[in-house]
Symmetry: C2
Subunit: 318 residues, 2 copies
């Protein structure tokens, strides 16, 4: 209790936002309610471009945004290891509060549990998110249609390379920041600019995973044009050193969307004018064809099936 | 991903309730939205009368019920230690699914993360809950009024003694089961029977903590009649052996409520006719007086201030 009142609450905006009552009561606007949850166990807790607090807020905000929901409320569950420096907790909470403000969401309920030394590796965070979807708006992973174009808002793989670059034993001499960011405002811009059918954020499992999930759920084939997919030189180089594939690398501030072809240019322009979409690109197309198949057209013009993650990814990148 | 589809989903009612999409869309009835979250780190994972899965569902359902909310939806975030036997996970999920059904809530969103050996002590669960409060219903910790009577639905301390009885090194030869249970149906019964002003479930910190919180939040004094407070002989004996106070022991299926004195008998009768309220009792009264003060009138007629937990409680009881 003291932890909540003396450390947590002041950093989340003062007062006692979720102190006295067991549940928080909220007005809810009309529309569908969107609900999601995610746990965060990233190691290290701080990495170039982010930290576990920022990640916990952005990850859940982004999951809501992918359904076309406006994120409204977050809950925050903290599992803290005994002996965690209070200053570490403070930094993480300050970051979570800042990014919640930035994303326009309120952290309205929370909880802390303390476990013994060696039982939580610093701290773990669970966030659940509540958002609202405007009546009539239908965006979903199963709604991609043949003819749709696929757009992405920038470089692949920055998050995973940034986290790996801090790991002991990995000889990565790269300066890459995580792309971790709340995508809700970018998504709002996209929805205003034209018809978005399906959206996903390529986190764990990377672009290859979400494209495959989209192809399966929508019963379509996807064609991806390799040379159009934005990947930084540093990320490409790091992937080569580690034997990794940028298409499988985790991102925390990217959205890939299947959009109506007539609106694709307008959506692309809107994305490029947004601070999180300067490097946006059209990277492929939805096709009729074998449902669930994702074909990569390489820079040399050859065609191959996009490789799926084999479960051999580095752990604890989010 | 395989973990979700092959292990988690089948046990939570089949299909892929939260598989393909990042967030789940739900119809929400009119009224206030209630939101809460809790993490569960209980050790051992299985104890007499419950397990971490049942606890995670009941704990969050109960937090919603304490605001007068009807629990509707839960999210489930699992942090799993590498090497956790799959059968353990299955037992926990089966239990969570059963108790969600029992409590009338749907588990609609979830997530799994795996951390290395020695980094999660088996598994941790975070649940967040969404409920709805009927327009006009006002129940809250700050609404206790002088004259109100205090009711509880049965024996104190069963949960904490049940968990402690499984711990190595504690020589407790008692057979007590945890009282872990979803309180939503009992609370509905109480709300139908009369005017309930304030409710809390005395979990971590016990009855003493929630009474103090109620007295402070409502700016009233409380008088508790010790001999009316139901405590099992086995629990009283175990507390004596361990030097613990039943008023500070955690419960997971108890509610203490401040109710209008004219309705107290009717509410008490309704509680006693409910399967979770057979031993319900009126244990005290709300008084004007020093705000925040909780006075215990002992069996011998003496009066003393109720002792608050000193932070020396056994850890990981929920």
């Amino acid at each position: 209790m003291e932890l909540l009142e003396e450390v947590v609450f002041p950093l989340l905006g003062g007062g006692s936002p979720w102190g006295a009552e067991d549940a928080t009561l909220l007005d809810f606007p009309s529309g569908k309610l969107a609900l999601t949850t995610d746990s965060f166990v990233v190691q290290p807790l701080f990495f170039p471009g982010g930290d576990i607090g920022k990640l916990a807020v952005c990850g859940t905000v982004n999951d809501l945004a992918m359904r076309g929901a406006k994120p409204l409320f977050l809950t925050l569950g903290l599992i803290l290891e005994e002996g965690l420096p209070l200053e570490t907790l403070r930094r993480v909470l300050r970051s979570a509060a800042n990014w919640a403000r930035e994303a326009g969401v309120q952290i309205v309920a929370g909880d802390t549990k303390v476990v013994g030394r060696g039982q939580a590796d610093g701290l773990y965070i669970n966030t659940a998110g509540v958002g609202v979807v405007k009546e009539g708006l239908q965006v979903g992973i199963s709604r991609a249609e043949p003819g749709d174009l696929l757009v992405i808002n920038g470089y692949l793989g920055d998050h995973e390379v940034a986290v790996l670059s801090c790991r002991d034993g990995l000889e990565l001499k790269v300066q890459v920041s995580s792309d971790c960011a709340p995508l809700s405002s970018l998504v709002e811009t996209m929805l205003s600019a034209g018809r978005v059918h399906a959206m996903r954020d390529p986190t764990r499992g990377g672009l290859a995973s979400v494209l495959t999930e989209m192809a399966v759920a929508s019963a379509v084939a996807l064609e991806i044009w390799e040379e159009r997919v934005p990947v930084r030189e540093e990320v490409r180089a790091a992937c080569e050193v580690l034997g990794l594939d940028p298409f499988l690398m985790a991102n925390e501030g990217k959205v890939v969307a299947a959009v109506h072809p007539d609106d694709a240019d307008r959506i692309l322009m809107a994305m490029r004018s947004h601070s999180l979409g300067g490097e946006s690109a059209i990277i492929g197309e939805v096709r009729e064809g074998r449902p669930g198949e994702v074909v990569l057209v390489t820079s040399l013009g050859s065609r191959r099936l996009l490789r799926m993650p084999s479960g051999e990814q580095f752990p604890r990148i989010c």
